[in-house]
């Protein structure tokens, strides 16, 4: 049973576009929602994270939007660049379980120049 559902599987946008990746979760006990970025041959790297007490968080060109009632959160990449081409994973965890992350299946993003 997949606890975090991520969509789309893949996404192609033009340079400067705003790709949006969506995730939905089931467990209302989750209280930490990070996004990871992975380049080929590398491990996932933490990009940005949010907790359910806020509805939005921005770090540079990356924004997380969080909707607690809908149990959904999304990643927006402003002014996307070819260097943003990577696989993106959303994840969730419960504070009491430390960093036992439950991941989505990943989204392969390609930004065309």
């Amino acid at each position: 049973q997949q606890q975090v559902k991520q969509s789309p599987q893949s996404l192609i946008v033009q340079k400067g576009g705003i790709p949006i990746i969506n995730c939905a979760y089931e467990n209302t006990a989750f209280d930490y929602f990070p996004w990871y970025q992975q380049f080929p041959g590398k491990g996932p790297a933490l990009l940005i994270a949010i907790r359910p007490d806020v509805s939005e968080k921005k770090e540079g060109r990356f924004t997380i939007s969080f909707n607690k009632s809908a149990k959904q959160f999304s990643l927006h990449i402003m002014d996307s660049q070819p260097g943003d081409s990577a696989t993106y994973f959303c994840a969730a965890s419960r504070n009491t379980y430390g960093n036992k992350l439950v991941f989505g299946a990943g989204t392969i993003l390609r930004v065309k120049s």
Binding site: V4, P44, N99, K100, L101, A105
Partner: protein
């Protein structure tokens, strides 16, 4: 600081053979995790060490998998005997003490069982 190091980066073995994966966490990180990604699917939790103690091994698929972290430093994950469905990328991650401390992942070991 040096990152999380995993060895080997790739391993190809035959069904029934044994493989041992190694992970060196970031120095000072008490938490060490193993995760696995099977082809195109989500990254799944395998187990969690706090120093040398297994905190949570609920994600270990079966008793063919054995993880150790002697002395609370590096960790090994042994698969014996390997099966075809064990193929995937095995990631190690480490973090400092404290809940929700950022996880730092290694580059993974790509295991192919033929």
């Amino acid at each position: 600081e040096a990152g999380v190091t995993q060895f080997p980066s790739h391993s190809v073995i035959e069904k029934g053979q044994t493989v041992t994966l190694r992970c060196d966490p970031i120095s000072g990180h008490d938490n060490l995790y193993w995760y696995r990604r099977v082809m195109g699917k989500e990254i799944k939790f395998l187990l969690h060490f706090v120093k040398e103690s297994k905190q949570d091994e609920s994600g270990m698929p079966n008793n063919r998998f054995l993880a150790e972290r002697t002395g609370g430093t590096y960790s090994t994950l042994k698969v014996q005997p390997a099966e075809l469905e064990d193929s995937g990328v095995y990631f190690c991650a480490s973090s400092r003490r404290g809940s929700n401390s950022p996880l730092h992942f290694g580059n993974g070991t790509r295991l192919t069982v033929t």
